[in-house]
Symmetry: D2
Subunit: 341 residues, 4 copies
Amino acid sequence: MYQFQCDYNEGAHPRIMERLIETNLEQTVGYGEDHYCAAAREAVRKAVGREDVDVHFLVGGTQANATVISSILRPYQGVLCATTGHINVHETGAIEHSGHKVLALEAEDGLLSAESIREAVLLHYAEDGPEHMVQPGMVYISFSSEVGTIYSLAQLKAISEVCHEYGLPLFIDGARMGYGLASEGCNVTLADIAALADVFYLGGTKQGALFGEAVVIVNDSLKRDFRYFIKQNGGMLAKGRLLGIQFLTLFEDGLYFQLSEHAVSQAMRIRDAFESKGFGFLVQSPSNQQFPILDNATMERLSSDFLFSFWQKIDDTHTAVRFCTSWATKPEAVDALIAAI
Amino acid sequence: MYQFQCDYNEGAHPRIMERLIETNLEQTVGYGEDHYCAAAREAVRKAVGREDVDVHFLVGGTQANATVISSILRPYQGVLCATTGHINVHETGAIEHSGHKVLALEAEDGLLSAESIREAVLLHYAEDGPEHMVQPGMVYISFSSEVGTIYSLAQLKAISEVCHEYGLPLFIDGARMGYGLASEGCNVTLADIAALADVFYLGGTKQGALFGEAVVIVNDSLKRDFRYFIKQNGGMLAKGRLLGIQFLTLFEDGLYFQLSEHAVSQAMRIRDAFESKGFGFLVQSPSNQQFPILDNATMERLSSDFLFSFWQKIDDTHTAVRFCTSWATKPEAVDALIAAI
Amino acid sequence: MYQFQCDYNEGAHPRIMERLIETNLEQTVGYGEDHYCAAAREAVRKAVGREDVDVHFLVGGTQANATVISSILRPYQGVLCATTGHINVHETGAIEHSGHKVLALEAEDGLLSAESIREAVLLHYAEDGPEHMVQPGMVYISFSSEVGTIYSLAQLKAISEVCHEYGLPLFIDGARMGYGLASEGCNVTLADIAALADVFYLGGTKQGALFGEAVVIVNDSLKRDFRYFIKQNGGMLAKGRLLGIQFLTLFEDGLYFQLSEHAVSQAMRIRDAFESKGFGFLVQSPSNQQFPILDNATMERLSSDFLFSFWQKIDDTHTAVRFCTSWATKPEAVDALIAAI
Amino acid sequence: MYQFQCDYNEGAHPRIMERLIETNLEQTVGYGEDHYCAAAREAVRKAVGREDVDVHFLVGGTQANATVISSILRPYQGVLCATTGHINVHETGAIEHSGHKVLALEAEDGLLSAESIREAVLLHYAEDGPEHMVQPGMVYISFSSEVGTIYSLAQLKAISEVCHEYGLPLFIDGARMGYGLASEGCNVTLADIAALADVFYLGGTKQGALFGEAVVIVNDSLKRDFRYFIKQNGGMLAKGRLLGIQFLTLFEDGLYFQLSEHAVSQAMRIRDAFESKGFGFLVQSPSNQQFPILDNATMERLSSDFLFSFWQKIDDTHTAVRFCTSWATKPEAVDALIAAI
C-alpha cells in the first residue's frame, strides 16, 4: 500500500536523523538558547536574505498560528482569512480559544484577494458604530494554500499594499512554504515573502523535519517579547536544540529547497497522468497537493493499492480526492500510481 | 424630528418609573437577592407557565448572550447560529472573547432551519478526525429575528427536535421576545418557547424597561452555578432590585404583552402605508421592525422629519432602511410618518 | 432594622430620580452618544480639572475593572495588586477570564507600597528566563481601599513614580473615590489622581447613582478604541443616556463631593462611638467603612436592630465586622446605632 | 564543563534513537492514530496496572498542564495548587490564558496538604455570596514536586479523600513521576497514583525521551472529547508516532523505571557528598533534584567546572543552588563533582 494521503507520513530526512544521533548525548542549555538554534537562526536569515529578522522555532503549525496571531491582535480585533483557511476550519478553534474571531472571507481556489480585504475593511468602518463589530486587525494567508494553489507576485504585492494602507499586519502561514516556492510557474521568492509579509513561517513538519516551524518576524514592532507568547502557548520545547538541529540541516546548504522541488516534480507527474487520462480537477494546483475528480469506479479501484484523502463530493458518481507528495515520496511509488491510473 | 431608528430611544414605561421612585429609599440587600427580584421571578414563572424554571436578571443583551453561551459550551465547542445572528455580527466578538467560535450558517430572512442545523452536525461528524474542527455544541436563534421575522411553531418544533436528537441545547435570544410573540400571524406562545428552548430570555431594554433581560433556564442541567457566570461576566448589578422592580412591573399583570401589541400594531400601520404606495420590502416582517426599500428621493425627503436606520444598499438608486416602533411609539408620530409616505 | 451592611442599599439621590423622570420620554440616540452623556463628560472633565481626558460610562465595577485591564495588558502580562484587591478576591476571576493573571502582593491595611511593586518587577527580570513567568504589565490600586484606608499623596506619588520608571500603567479603582477623597486627613485631590494615574474611575453605584462608573483615561496611548472594549465586555448600555444623566447630576455642581462628605462624617460618628467605648478596630479607616472588633455579646446585641457585615474572625470571642455609611445614611439611623453602642 | 543545571540537557536514551532511525521511513497515519501509539498506550496501561484508562501523548509539560486543566474546569472555577506549583510560577500564565485562576495555597517544602485544601474549600462556601469568588474546581499537585520532595502514600490518600469529598478532580503533574517513584523512601507505586488521581501524566522529556508526556485519564467522566482539547491547545503532533515510539520504548520493558533509579542513585551520591562536608540543604529532597546551601567561596569554586542553577539567596554569604541528575548523568561526572566538593 502506497500512502499519498498527506505529506507527513514519514519521519525526517536521513541527514537530520544522522545529526540527531551525532549530537544526542551532547549537553546543551534548553528552550532554544543553545548554539544549534543560534546557527539555525543564522542559516534561516541567510536563506531569507535578511539579517534583521527575528527567527523562532515552534513545534507545530496550529501552535505557530495561534501564537503569532495572539501576539499581533488586540482583544477586540479579528483576523481576515479565506473561508478555506486552516485557522478557520482545521484547528479546533484555537484562534477563538485565544479570544479572537476569524473573519472569514469568500475566496476563489483558496486564495484571498486584495479587493476582498479592502471591502471588508471599508465595510467595517462604513458602519455607524463600528465598535459593535469585530475590527479587522490583521490578514492571514497560506503559501501554498490549503488546496495547493499559490499567489503570484502581483497578487501578493497587492495584498501587502492594502495591508499597509490599512495598518493590517500580513501573516503568511508557510506550513508548505517550500512546496509553494517550488511550484510550477511560481514567480515568488523567499526574499519576496520576507519583503511583503510582516510575519511568516517556514514549515518543517511537512517538509523534511520530524516536526517544527520556523517563525520569521520581519516587522520590528511585532518582535517584542515573542518568547513569552511561545511559552504561554505551550510551544517552547525544553530540548530546543532538536529544532535548531533540524532547521540547521534543512537550511545550511539548500536541502529545504531541493526536497521541495522533489515533491513538486513528483506531484506534476501525478497531475499529468490524471490529465492525460481525461480526469478533471477540483482546482488547478501547481504544487505538491493534487485534487483530481474521480468517478466512483476509479476511486474504488485505486483505493486497493493507494491511500489518498477524500476531499469533497462532487455528485453521486464523482468525488474530488487529494493526493499529496512530499520530500519522502519515492519515484517508484509514483510510477506505480501512474501505471494504475 | 420623530425617531424610528431603533427601539430603545426612550426611558421606561411610566409605571416602572413610578415604582422606582416609590421604592427609591427603601433599603434592600444587593445582587438580586431582594424581595422585588423574588417577586419578579415569580411573575415571570407565572407568565411562562412553569414553576420549575430558574430566572435571572441581567443588565443587557450582549452580556446575556455571552453569559448564557459561556455557561453551556465546553471550550472546544461552538454555537450554531444564522450569519445574521446578533452574536455573529454586532457584539464585537464577545462570544469569541469567551473562547468560542460562532459557527455561522446561511439562513433565509434571518431564520435558521432545522435542516441546516442537521447538516452542520452531520458534516462535523462525517469528517475523518472531527477533533480538528470546532464541535457544534448548541444552537442560538433570535425570536423575533434581527430582521423582524419570526419562526412558526412548526419551525421551532423542528429545530428543537433536531437539537434534542444531537444533544444541542437550544438558546433563544429574546431581546424582542414580546414583539415576536405579538407579531402578525404568530402561532407561538411563551409556553411554547419554554417547552422548546433550553434557555431563553425576555428582553426588557427594548420592551418597556430602562434596561434588563430576564434569563429563563428551563433545562435542569444548565442551572448549576449560573450566578457565578453572571458575576464573572460583569452582569451582576449591585442594586439588583432595580431589575426586579422593572420585571415585576412588566410581568405582574400583563403590561409586557400589552406594550408589545402596541408596538406591533403601530409597525403594521407603517408597513401598510409603504405597501399601499407600492414600496417593496427587504424582508416580510410581521413585527416591530420594518425594512422598506426606498428610492433615493423618498429616502431624502423622509429624512428631513424622521430618523430611521440605513440597512442595506440595494442598487444605485434604492436602499433598504429600517423603521422601528416600540412600546413608546406615539400614534401621532406614526400618523405623521404615514402622511409623509 | 437599620442597614449598614453595605453602601448600595438604596436607589439613587432624589435629584437623579427627578432628572430621570423629567427626561424619560425624550428620544435620544443610544450607546452613550447622546447629549446628556456629552454634557456629563464635560462635567467630569471639569471636576477632574483636565480637558484632555477621555471619559466613558460603564454600568458596574467588575465590568469597569475587567474592561480597563483588558485594554491595557498584552496577553502574557499580569496586573500587580494587593492580595486584598477587589479584582483578586471578589470578581469571580473576571480578570483571569480575560486571560490575565492577577499578581497579588502582600499589602498592609489594603495599601500597596511602591517598594513592593519595585521588588516584584526586579524579581521578574532577575530571573534567568523571565519569559517563563507572567510579566508585570500594570498596577491596580483602590482609592479608598477595600478596607476603607487611603493612600497619602506621598504614597501615591511614590507608586506613580515606580510605575513610570518601569513602564507600568497605573489604574485606580475608584468605586469609592468620593469617599476616599472626603476621608479624614486625606491630602489627595481629584486633580492629583488625574495627574498620577493613567486610568481611574469615579464610582457612581456606591456614591449616589442607581449604578454606573465613569472611567477616565488620562494616558493618551490608552485611549484608542476603548469603545470596542466596552462593547465586547458587555458594558455598553443601550440607553446610555441613563448614565449620562446620573453623572451629569452628580458632577455638574459638586453633588458627588457633598454626598461623599456626608457619608464620611456619619462614619466618623460611628467610629468615635466605638472608640469611646473602648472597642478596637481591625484597621484604622478614615472613610465610610468602619471595621470595629466586637465581642460576641455585643455583636449579638447589635444584630437585633442593625444589619452589618461579618468581616473576619479574630478569636473565639471576638469578630471584626463592617459598618458602612453612604450618601443615603440617615443621621437618625446613626443616632440609633450610637445609642445602642 | 559538567552540566547539572537541569534534567533535560541531553537528547534521548540510545534505544529510543535507534528505534526512531529504524522506523524513520515507514509510512503511518498521523495525529497519534498509528500502531506505535496504540502499542505505547497498551504498554502504559500495563505499567499503570489498569486497562480502563485513556492514554494520550502530548509534546510538553506546560501544554499538558494547560490542556488537562482546561478539560476539567468550568469557566468560573480555579485550580488549587501550592504557591510553588509549576503552573503558578513557570508557565507564563498558561492557565490564566485559558481563563482560570490558579488558587495558590501556602505549602511546606512544595507539598500541598489535605488540610489546606479542605480549608480553602470551606472558606469559599462559608462566604456569604460565594459566587463573587472563584470556585475551587480541582486540585493540582506535582510528583515529585518542584523542589524534589515527594508525598507519602498516607499524604496522597488524605488529599485524594478530601478531593472526593468535595468533588474536586485530582490532577498529578508527573513531569518527574519516575524520579519521584524511584526516590529514597518512597512508599507510593504507580498503581497507587492511578488509584488516587483522576488524571496524571508520565513525563518523558526529563526522563529519557526527546520530548513527550503521557497523559493518563483514570476518571471516566473526564475522558470525553479529550482529543479536541489536545488539538485546540496546539498539542497534537502531526507525526504522532514519534511519541508512540518513545513511550513504547520507555514502557515496554521497564526502561523508564531503570532510568529513574539511575538518576536518583546519582543524586543521592551528590547529596551524601554535600552532607558529609557539613553543607545544609534548602529542603530534604529524596529525588533527582538537590538543593544544597553553599557559601559564596564554594559556589564560585564549583562554578568553574560545573553548571548548576541559582535557586534562592539565603543571606549575604550563602545561596541555595540546584543540582539535577537525570537518566543521562554519567557516574564519572558525579565522581568529579564529589571530588570537587
